[in-house]
Every structure is written in C-alpha cells, then in structure tokens.
Amino acid sequence: MAEILVVDDSKVMREMLVACLRRVPGAAFTQAASGLEAIERLSLKHFDLVLLDLNMPDIGGIEVVEFVRAQDKLRALPVVIVTTRGDDGSRARALQAGATRFVTKPFTPEAILAEVTGLLGASGAPR
C-alpha cells in the first residue's frame, strides 16, 4: 500500500493527478482541497507521499511544506510540488522550505508516474 495525499484547490487538477497515478501499484489516494485540510489530514493519518499545489487560499503550498518539515514525524515525508512553469521564484522558496521534488504543469502522465514511483521506491519499503 502506498498512501498518497493529493493537495490542490482545483478539483480538476486533483482528478487529473489521480488519473495519472492510477497505475502506481497499491496506491490509495486521499484528496485535500486546501493547505489547511492537508495539514489536518497529515496530522491524523500516515501518508507515504504528498503531491502539493503552491497556490491555495488561506495557506499556500510553501507554508504547508514549512509546517510539515517542522513536525518531527513528517520530516522525511516526500513532498512533490506540482507547479506551473514560470514559477521560478516560488520554486526556490519551496525548495528552501524542504520540498523533495518538482513536477511542472503541463506534465505528461508518464513523467509524474515515474517521479512518484521513484520516490516511493526510494523512501524505503512502503508499508
């Protein structure tokens, strides 16, 4: 089992991401529509990987990464930032905050699939 949290305020984007990652073996998806919801879900349940949008109401992706990295039990959680091209400034800040990887929109299903399976394999045996 690989528990994946998909965080984006755009429902279409969340569904696109899930559609792309359907082929990840044993993947189970949870969706969160805001940064706040993401933090809540991460605090209540174990996840193996997070896909995170940067632009969200209330608190954005960078704040989420900063918060996650400040939590002992979430320090090693792989966080993939899904960003749009031209976001170089935000990319640098997200990296500084502790993001693991970036995927840039538009992405192909293959590209994101490769990124995610790679990370899940690298982070040790998924539970």
Binding site: D9, S10, K11, V12, M13, E15, M16, A19, C20, R22, A33, S34, L36, E37, I39, E40, S43, L44, N55, M56, P57, D58, I59, E63, F67, A70, Q71, T84, R85, G86, G89, K105, P106, F107, T108, P109, E110
Partner: protein, 680 residues
C-alpha cells in the same frame, strides 16, 4: 502534451472550473476597482485574482489551450509585482486586466465550441506586459495593539495585520479561535474545513495559522489551528460554531467603538439552519449535456405516455373496461410530471448570478462614455433554465448598453434638466408565473425621440409605444448620426427582438416618456424544453401551438366574420377578415388558407387569439383537440426551416406534429404589429 489520453476526459470539468474561476476573477477585479476608488489598496483581492488566474493557467496548460496560458501568465506577472507594491494598481490597469479576462473567456469558449481560436491582439499582450504597480499608499500607522504570540504573528503578512487593525478601528472585535483536529472530531464531521466555514459565517476570517502543540504531562503533542477573525459575535456563539469550549476563544484586541454584542445581533448572525443544511449536502457541477440526456429520456417517456393514452382511448372505444388501467396511467402521468419538474429544477440557475456580469459591462461603459451611471440589479431569488439565461443575457446586455450610450444624458445636461447627475439603470427580474420570466431594463434618461426614429426610418411618426418599438426593431435602424464606440450606431434592437420573440417565443414591450426615461420589458419562458401546448385541427391535419403564446380560445360565429377580397385573384375570398371580440373588431386569419391548404370547406368555429406587442389577432381553426405536454424539437435543417413553424413534437403516435409559431406566421403574412407592411 496530454498524449496518454488519460487527460482527455477532463474537458468538461476544465470548462466548468474555468468558468467559475473567470467569474471569481471578474468579481475580484471589481473589488479592487471599488477599493482603488476609495483610495485604498486591496491586497487580498489582488491575491485572490492572482490565484484564480494562476489556476486557469495551470489547467489550461494541462489541456493545451496555449493562448490562455500566454495571457494569464502576463496578467500574473503584473499582479505579482502589484502584490509586492502593497496591492496598489493604477486605475487604468483594471481595464487592461479586464480586457485580458475577456480575451481568456473568448479563447475558452472557442475551445468549448471546437471553434477557431480568436486572435489575441498583440496590443493586449504588450499592454499587459507594460502594467506596473501604482504608488504604494501611505502606510497606515498600526496604532492597534494585537495580542499575538510570536509563532502566530510570524505567519501573518503585513496586509493581514492591517486588516485586523482596520477591523478593530471600525468597531469589530479581533478574536482568535483555536481548533485542534482529531480523528474523533473528524468522525463527527468537525474538520478544519467545516469549522472554518461555520466560524466564517460569524465574521471575517483574516487568517488561519497552523501551530505545533508541544506535548505536555497531561496531553500528547499535535497540531492546532488558530483562526484569526473580525467579528461581532459572542465568544459562546463562536465556540459553538467551532465545536470547542469557550476557553478556546480569546480576544486579540477589544473593539475600539462599543462593540455591538447584544444577544439580538448574535441571533441574527447564527447561520440559518436551512442554509447550513444546504452547505453540508453541498453542490455539484453537472455537465449540461448530461442534463440534456436526462431530458431526452424524459421526452421519450412523455411520448410513450401519450401513446399509451391513445391505446387506452382505443380500448375504451371498443367497450373494454379500462378503469384500473386508466387509474394506473393517471398515476404514471403524475409521476412523469414530478420527474419533469425535478429535472427542470436541476437546470435552473439563479438569474441574479447571470446579471452580476452587467456590473462589469456598466463599469466599462461608464469609463468609455464619461457618464455617471448607477446600476441597480434586482433579481431576488428568481431562477430560470440555463438555456434561457444563456440566450436572453446578450439581449439584456444590449439594452443596458443602449441605455447608457443613447438614453442617459451627460452629467451637465442632466444637471440642467434638474435630474441628479448620476443616472440610474435598473435591471429587475420577476417570475410572472410558473412558466414565464419578466425582465425589465429601465433608465431615467431622455426617452426615445419618436420624431427622430421616424425620420431615420422614413416612416410617419409612430403613435403609441408598441408602434415605436416596431420601428426601432427594423433591421439596421439607428437614431445616432455617429457611431459610438460602445454600441455602434445603436443597431441591434432587431437582434434583441429576434432573441426575445423569435428564438425564445417571448414578448418585448416598450414604455418610454420624453425626458423621463425608458423601460424595456422582456417576457420569456422559464424553460424551453417541455411546453404545454394546445393541439388543434386545421385542414384535417393536427398542429400544436404553445399555451404561453395563446391569449384565449374563442368561439367563432361564422355569420359574423367578414373576409376581405383576395389581393391575388379577383372575386376570391381573402384570408384575412374581421371578427368581433368583446365589442371591438379584431383581425382574423383563416389558418387553412394561410398555411396554403386552400380555402376551407366548412366554416371555422374556433379561433386562437394571440397577443403580441399589445396587438391582438385571431387564427381561425377547425377544432381544438385538447391540451398536451410536449417536447418541442427544433427543425434545424435549413431546408425544413419555415417561418411560422417553431418545431415538431411527437404526440405519441410516432408521427411528427408541427408546432406553429403564430406570431412569426403573422409577420410572414404581412400582419405584423402597427406600422409594419401590409394589412391592419
């Protein structure tokens, strides 16, 4: 780009979400505009606008609508700079951004219709590139002390601190509500999302800050959320909304002015239980195509129900006892009616939402014309079929443009005439019945100049508003010597008329008074798909006519109808006569002859009275066959399209029955309203 095809299914949801985001972008632009006019900056609206555009950009990149990516990217860059400059945009920038949003809308609708993408004017991209933030407003000295612990204060942006301070100065309390999520609370429906929504209903949430809670001797560590808000609600009400104890509510600063904390206020702020219910159940977006499918199935059901009715009648004629069957069928009919109204309800959209966009239209006109205009919208809770809303909206926009451009006087002229400098354009909407919607567009401008209209049309000066409206609706008529930038030469009343009368089968009325103002009234059906119709027989053929277009059905005394001579063959009877109705003479058309079946053999005994633009005309028919619920299918084949025929419907026998549009027919026969060609 989306080669794997996995993303191909997202077209519909893309269009739906982008439509919402564009509406949000428009709303934020208006909010920014309103703030700028007050000399304030609005960082929050700038950020929300940025976010909407950014999401549109990302989604458009995914589905490959590149021109949208290009436009939104430039708009974003401008806004990012603005955000850094404290949310201050120069006023002209709003117009450039609005043009950007318009262009995105055009690209998206071309994508939706599989049409050729419009060409983005290079000037627009350059203008967007050239956008620069305005001067930052003088910083507000923050004399309000907020009681914030460092972890919370650090998470707040300068504008958020400003918002809190401003709220306190305006007499609201700044409050912090802490909520700690847990699995138990989540199971009970208490999550940060629901709590945010509930608490947000009691005040204005400025920020929600996530916090780490260190473990103590008595409790394990974890996380908590601090909701910072401005409110007039009591601590108890806030605690209840958040599902927490009252000790979790702490003041950040007391309100400056005496805070309204009377219990009555709190009661008013309690969310309406019904509304809450709606929130919980949520709303969903549905592809209109799917609704159309459901409508199709319903249509098939209505047709088969009609067929069953015929079979039943045949059985009865043969003397079979069909009472039970008849009861079952009756029951069936009722259920079909219920199902029909459920489906129609799903298709309903609030008119108020559609009209909101007029604010942007008027805003643009105000700037272009230099006139002072206030737009009042009053649609209440009225809803109508999305298809109707989509069609009628351009007509309303047209009337509003005309009002501002042609009817409203310049401020100086208004002052001279003793009118307030700020003119008023009012768009109101009421449901006249379960089947009809009435929209009015009124202004307090100069009124329509009859003489001028008559001169332009080279016709005699029309008497009465109906005749004047008819002149105005002649194709290509204009009362303006020069074209204005916003509504050209005032053309387009013919288009308004076509939309309202011909496409929607509605009615267009005019009331105007020189110097005082003009009101256009548009009456259109609430829905298009299923209509109540009268079936009747004419020349041994069956026809249908929508109930809504018929004023009444009258008996005809053949001895008292006088037909005029035929204009074509001497000695023959013409198809138009005169009959008496409640003491006045009204024209009566012999429908058999009008439809080309030749003169009738037996005199007509019934007539359908149709009223349009205040004019009454009767159509003589052979006999009435009763009232039916029918699904009108438009005849789209241009070869089949005949003026006077609105479409066809199946009455259950598998044969198409023509649905007549008597108003259009009367125009074809040269029997248009006052002042038109031909017979009166």
């Amino acid at each position: 780009m989306t080669s794997a095809g996995d993303l191909g299914d997202f077209r519909t949801s893309y269009l739906g979400e982008v439509e919402e985001l564009l509406a949000a972008a428009n709303a934020q632009l208006l909010a920014i505009d309103a703030s700028l006019r007050k000399g304030e900056s609005n960082v929050r609206a700038v950020r929300e606008l940025f976010r909407a555009l950014h999401t549109i950009k990302g989604l458009s990149a995914m589905v490959g609508v590149e021109p949208v990516v290009a436009i939104t990217h430039r708009m974003e860059s401008a806004l990012r700079a603005t955000d850094r400059a404290n949310g201050r945009l120069p006023l002209p920038a709003i117009d450039v951004l609005l043009r950007g949003v318009r262009m995105v809308e055009q690209h998206v609708s071309a994508y939706a219709d599989d049409g050729a993408p419009p060409v983005t004017p290079p000037g627009l991209l350059d203008a967007l590139d050239a956008l620069e933030p305005g001067a930052a407003p003088t910083a507000v000295t923050n004399e309000v002390a907020l009681d914030l612990e460092p972890a919370v204060a650090k998470a707040l942006a300068a504008f958020e601190l400003d918002e809190l301070a401003r709220g306190v100065r305006e007499g609201r309390r700044a409050v912090r509500v802490d909520f700690a999520p847990s699995s138990e609370r989540a199971a009970a429906g208490l999550t940060i999302t629901t709590v945010r929504e509930q608490v947000g209903g009691l005040g204005e949430i400025v920020k929600v800050v996530p916090l780490s809670v260190p473990a103590t001797a008595t409790a394990p560590g974890g996380i908590a959320f601090a909701l910072l808000l401005l409110t007039a609600a009591s601590d108890e009400a806030l605690a209840r909304a958040a599902g927490v104890g009252v000790e979790a509510v702490r003041p950040l600063a007391a309100a400056r002015a005496p805070a309204p904390e009377a219990p009555a206020v709190v009661d008013l702020l309690e969310p309406d239980p019904h509304e809450q219910d709606v929130h919980r159940r949520g709303a969903m977006r549905v592809d209109v195509g799917r609704l159309d499918e459901a409508m199709e199935s319903l249509a098939a059901l209505i047709v088969s129900r009609a067929r069953l009715g015929r079979e039943l009648a045949a059985l009865t004629a043969r003397g079979v006892d069909v009472r039970d069957l008849a009861l079952a069928l009756q029951d069936d009919s009722r259920r079909i009616r219920d199902l029909r109204s459920s489906i129609l309800r799903i298709r309903m959209v609030p008119v108020a939402e559609a009209l909101e966009r007029l604010r942007l239209v008027v805003r643009g006109l105000r700037r272009a014309s230099g006139k002072l205009v206030r737009l009042d919208l009053d649609a209440g809770q009225v809803e109508c079929d999305k298809a109707v809303a989509d069609r009628v909206f351009p007509a309303v926009v047209h009337l509003v443009r005309n009002a501002v451009d042609h009817a409203i006087e310049a401020p100086a002229e208004r002052r001279q005439r003793g009118k307030p400098e700020e003119a008023s354009v009012r768009v109101a909407c009421v449901a006249r019945s379960n089947t009809q919607l009435e929209l009015t567009v009124s202004d307090d401008g100069r009124g329509v100049d009859r003489e001028r209209v008559a001169r332009r049309a080279s016709r005699p000066v029309p008497e009465g508003d109906a005749a004047l409206l008819h002149l105005l609706c002649l194709a290509g008529l204009s009362t303006r010597a020069e074209a204005s930038t916003t509504s050209g030469r005032g053309m387009g009343m013919d288009i308004v008329r076509r939309i309202v009368v011909e496409e929607l089968g509605g009615e267009l009325l005019l009331r105007t008074e020189r110097g005082a103002g003009t009101t256009f009234t548009l009456r259109v059906p609430l829905t298009l798909a299923v209509v109540e119709a009268f079936a009747f027989e004419c020349a041994e053929q069956r026809f249908l006519v929508p109930l809504a277009t018929v004023d009444e059905i009258v008996e005809v005394d053949p001895g008292r109808v006088a037909y005029g001579p035929s204009p074509r063959s001497a000695g023959a009877r013409g198809l138009v006569g005169v009959m008496e109705r409640r003491g006045s003479a009204i024209p009566v058309v012999d429908l058999d002859a009008a439809l080309g079946f030749g003169a009738r053999r037996s005199p007509a005994l019934r007539a359908l009275v149709v009223r349009r633009d205040g004019d009454v005309i009767a159509f003589a028919v052979d006999r009435m066959l009763g009232q039916h619920e029918v699904v009108v299918r438009p005849l789209t084949d241009p070869l089949l399209k005949v003026t006077g025929v609105a479409g066809a419907a199946d009455l259950g026998d598998g044969r198409p029955t023509l649905v007549l549009d008597l108003v259009a027919l009367r125009v074809r026969l040269g029997l248009g309203p006052a002042g038109s060609r031909g017979v009166r």
